[in-house]
Amino acid sequence: MACSLKKTNGLGAIKSGIWIFMDDFDGINKPVVCKQCKNPPCEKACPLDNEKPIRMDKRTGIVFISNDKRCMNCYECVDACAFGAIRIDPEEGKPVKCDLCDGDPECVRWCHFGAISYRNQRRPGQRITNRR
C-alpha cells in the first residue's frame, strides 16, 4: 500500500511494485519483488529495439519501466519473469514493477521491523554494507 500511495497517489494493492503472495490455508505470506537480475530476461523479451521501455540502467543496475510511448502492452516482459514480479495494472493496462524508487525505496521507509532492507548487491567475497 505504501508503494501504491507513492506511485499513484492512491491506494490499490494491484498497483504496487511489491506484492504479497498469501496462502490463508497454510498461513504463508511471501513477498514477491523484482530481483533486479543482472541479465534481465524481461529486457531481453521486449520486442522493441534500442532504449527499450523496460531496461536496466547501465549506471545503477536498476531494471525499470520507462514512460516510453512505444510500449504496446504486449506483456512479453510479464511472461518472461520467472518470479512473477511484473504485474499488470488493469486500469491502464501497463506492466508495473519495482524500480527501487531510484535508490530510496518507500517500502523500506515504512517497514520498521527490518523485514525489508536496502543493501548493496553482494558479490562473492564482498562484505555486506548497509546503505541506510
Binding site: 500500500m1 505504501a2 507513492k6 491506494l11 490463508d24 490455508f25 498461513g27 486500469e91 520498521h112
Partner: protein, 635 residues
C-alpha cells in the same frame, strides 16, 4: 459522478428476490454526515427497515459497509455488517477485519445492500464492474474453509476475497457469524443467520482499482508518523507478541476472570497456567496481520502432539479463550483452540457459543437438565470433549444443540424456570468476560447502553484513573475505580464516541486510544481530512459520532427499547463478588440509576423514557427522525 476521494463513491444494491443488481452513487449527505461503515449503515437501515420486521424476514437488509480510510496503511482493513438481529430483535451490527474490505473498495464499492431472499442457494461474485449472482447449491452444507477453497478454485483465482457462512448460518443458528478469509469473523448478533435466511452462501470479491486520496503527501506523512508511534507505544510490544491472548493474564492479575459461568471471581484462577498467553505462545509459530496493520495480533498456532495433533490456523481470540476456558472451567489449551477453530469452520460466533455451552454446563450442574436432555453428552465442568460435541450439535441443530442454537434467552425459556438466572446479558446479547463488570461500573454502563445489546466493543471502559486517553477532560481518582459509580458517565461517553468513529472510519480499535494506542480523535480528524479532502476538526467528529449514536438509538426506540432495557441482567448484577480482597462488592441499583441519569444527560436522552430528545436530534440535523418518533408517540 463526482470524483470522490477516500470513498470510492458507489453503493451496490442487490435484490435477491428479483435478481436485480443496481449501482447507485454514494450521496454527499451520507458521506459527510455519517462518514462510512457503521454510520452510513445505521442511517440506511433506519430508513429502509420498518419496525417489527423479523430478523429472518426477506424485508430485512444485510448491509456491508467500508469506510473512507479503508485500504489505507493504518490498520484500516475493516468492514461493518448491519442488519436486524435475529438474536436480539434490535439493531444487529458486527465488525470484521481481514482483507475483504479493501478488496471491496478496490472493486469500486463502498457499501453493498442486500435485500430479499433467493429461492435457491446462491453466491454473489463481484469482479470489479461485473456483478453476478451464481448458483451455490454445490456449496450448501460446506464449511467456511471448504467454501472459500471451492469458490477460489471455481473462479480460478487464489487471491479473491470471500465472506461466507458455514453450515450453522444455513441452519439459522441465531448466533451464526460471517467468516472472511477463513479466520476473521463478523461475529456478534447473528449476521450469518441473516445471510443464511437469504440463501446467500458467500460474497466473493476481486478488486483491481484504486482508492483516490485527496492529499497523498499529507496522508503519507500522518500515516507514517502514526505507524511509527504505534510501534513505539508500550502496548505494542506485548500485543504484537501475544495478540489478545495476553488479556487473559491481565484480567486474571486483577482477579476479574469469570470462572464457571460467573459463579466465582475475585481471585487468581489456579488453573490459569493452562490458558495463559505464554502457553499459547509455545504452540505459535508466527503472527499474522490484517490489511495494512503493524499490530499483527493474530497468532498462528500449530499443535503437533496430543489429542488435537495436526490442528493449525488462526482462530484464537481472548473472547474465545474466556468463553471456552475459565467460563467452562476448562484449562486445556489445545482443546480451546480446537473449539474456536470448529466455530470458525461452522461459522459460529465463538463468544456466544462458548457462553451458551457454559450456561448449559451450569444448568447441568444445577440439575435443570440431565444427560437425558443432552442426548448423552456429559456436560461436567471442564469436560472439553463435551464442549466439542456440543459445538457439533449446535451447528447442526441436533438434539439439545437445537435448544442452545436459539440463543441465550430463548434457550433459557425452553429449559425452564431458574435457567435465565444463569445468563448474564444486556438486551439479549452476551459479552466477553462478564465478571470484570462486577468491579468496573463504567464497563457495566457501557454494556447496558450499547446500541447492539451487551457488548465489550462499544462502550466498555478498561481504564483506571490516570490512564484515560483524554486526560484534560476526564481526570479524577474515581474514573474506572473499582466499584465506584461516580464520575463514570463522562469517560464512558468518550469511549463510545471513539469506538463509534473507529467503526465509521473502519479502523481497528486496537490502534485507537481506546486500547491505549496512539490514534485519538485528533489523528482521526487529520487522516480523514487528508484522505477525503473534507476538512474536519475534533468537534465535528464528535458531532458525527453523536449523530450515529442517536440514529442507532432511534432505531432501538422504534423497536420498543426503553430505559428499563438499559441494564445488565444475570449474575453480573445479582451476585456479589465471591472471594478475594473485594469479597462482597455488590451491585447497587440506586447508584446505578443515578449514573444512568448522568449518562442520559450527556448523550441527550430523556431520563424517563430513554428516547433521544427533540432538541438533541434537531441540533444534530435529524429533524426527520424527531418527527417520526413524535408520530409514533415516543415523545
Amino acid at each position: 459522478m463526482i470524483m470522490m476521494h477516500g470513498w470510492v463513491g458507489r453503493i451496490l444494491r442487490v435484490d435477491l428476490s428479483s435478481g436485480r443488481i443496481e449501482k447507485e452513487p454514494l450521496s454527499d449527505y451520507l458521506a459527510h454526515n455519517y462518514i462510512g461503515g457503521r454510520g452510513i449503515n445505521a442511517r440506511i437501515i433506519y430508513e429502509e427497515v420498518r419496525p417489527g420486521v423479523d430478523g429472518f424476514d426477506p424485508a430485512n437488509l444485510l448491509i456491508f459497509g467500508t469506510g473512507p480510510l479503508c485500504g489505507g496503511p493504518i490498520a484500516a482493513g475493516r468492514f461493518n455488517v448491519t442488519f436486524k438481529s435475529p438474536l436480539t430483535n434490535i439493531l444487529g451490527d458486527s465488525n470484521s477485519g481481514g482483507h475483504f474490505a479493501p478488496e471491496l473498495k478496490y472493486a469500486g464499492y463502498d457499501h453493498i445492500i442486500i435485500s430479499g431472499r433467493a429461492d435457491k442457494p446462491i453466491y454473489l461474485w463481484i469482479d470489479n464492474e461485473k456483478v453476478e449472482i451464481r448458483d451455490a447449491q454445490h456449496l450448501w452444507g460446506k464449511t467456511t474453509d471448504e467454501t472459500t477453497q471451492m469458490i477460489r478454485e471455481e473462479i480460478g483465482d487464489s487471491r479473491i476475497r470471500i465472506a461466507c457462512i458455514g453450515p450453522s448460518g444455513e441452519k439459522l443458528v441465531r448466533f451464526a457469524c460471517i467468516i472472511t478469509d477463513l479466520d476473521h469473523a463478523a461475529g456478534k448478533m447473528g449476521g450469518g443467520a441473516v445471510m443464511g435466511s437469504k440463501n446467500l452462501k458467500a460474497i466473493a470479491v476481486r478488486g483491481t482499482g484504486t482508492v483516490k486520496i485527496a492529499e497523498p503527501e499529507a496522508f503519507r506523512r500522518i500515516a507514517k508518523d502514526l505507524v511509527r508511534r504505534t510501534i513505539e507505544n508500550v502496548k505494542w510490544a506485548t500485543f504484537s507478541l501475544y495478540g489478545t491472548t495476553e488479556i487473559t493474564d491481565q484480567i486474571d492479575r486483577m482477579g476479574m476472570l469469570a470462572i464457571r459461568n460467573n459463579r466465582y471471581t475475585g481471585e487468581h484462577w489456579e488453573k490459569l497456567e493452562g490458558v495463559s498467553a505464554k502457553t499459547f505462545k509455545k504452540y505459535s509459530t508466527k503472527m499474522k496481520a490484517c490489511s495494512g496493520c503493524v499490530n499483527a495480533c493474530d497468532m498462528w498456532l500449530e499443535f503437533k502432539e496430543g489429542p488435537f495433533s495436526g490442528e493449525r490456523g488462526v482462530a484464537l481470540e481472548f473472547s474465545g479463550i474466556a468463553a471456552f476456558g475459565p467460563l467452562c472451567d476448562n484449562s486445556y489449551a489445545p482443546s480451546i483452540f480446537k473449539a474456536c477453530k470448529l466455530c470458525n469452520e461452522y461459522g459460529l460466533d465463538h463468544l456466544e457459543c462458548g457462553h451458551m455451552i457454559a450456561a448449559a454446563m451450569d444448568w447441568y450442574d444445577l440439575g435443570l437438565i440431565t444427560e437425558k436432555d443432552t442426548g448423552g453428552v456429559d456436560l461436567r465442568w471442564g469436560n472439553y470433549w463435551a464442549i466439542i460435541e456440543m459445538i457439533h450439535k449446535i451447528a447442526r441443530r441436533e438434539g439439545f444443540g437445537d435448544v442452545l442454537a436459539e440463543g441465550p434467552l430463548r434457550a433459557a425459556e425452553k429449559v425452564g424456570p431458574g435457567a435465565e438466572d444463569c445468563i448474564s446479558h444486556a438486551k439479549g446479547s452476551q459479552f466477553a468476560n462478564e465478571d470484570s463488570y462486577k468491579f468496573n461500573r463504567a464497563a457495566l454502563l457501557g454494556a447496558a447502553t450499547s446500541t447492539r445489546g451487551g457488548d465489550h466493543l462499544r462502550g466498555s471502559l478498561n481504564y483506571f484513573g490516570e490512564r484515560m486517553p483524554d486526560k484534560s477532560k476526564y481526570k479524577g481518582p474515581k474514573i474506572g475505580n473499582l466499584g465506584s459509580y461516580e464520575d463514570q458517565a463522562g469517560p464512558v461517553y468518550y469511549i463510545q464516541t471513539l469506538n463509534t468513529l473507529a467503526d465509521a472510519l473502519e479502523v481497528c480499535k486496537f490502534v485507537t486510544a481506546r486500547s491505549m494506542q496512539e490514534m485519538g480523535l485528533t489523528e482521526m480528524a487529520n487522516l480523514y481530512s487528508a484522505a477525503t479532502g473534507v476538512t474536519i476538526d475534533e468537534e465535528e467528529l464528535r458531532r458525527i459520532a453523536d449523530r450515529i449514536w442517536s440514529v442507532e438509538r432511534a432505531f432501538l426506540v422504534r423497536e420498543g427499547i426503553t430505559r428499563k432495557d438499559d441494564a445488565v441482567y444475570g449474575r453480573v448484577t445479582s451476585d456479589p463478588v465471591s472471594s478475594g480482597p473485594h469479597k462482597g462488592l455488590a451491585h447497587d441499583q440506586k447508584k446505578y440509576d443515578k449514573m444512568l441519569d448522568e449518562y442520559y444527560d450527556l448523550v441527550g436522552w430523556d431520563k424517563k423514557t430513554g428516547v433521544p430528545t427533540r432538541e438533541k436530534l434537531e441540533s444534530l440535523g435529524l429533524k426527520d427522525i424527531a418527527d417520526e418518533l413524535a408520530r409514533i408517540g415516543k415523545f
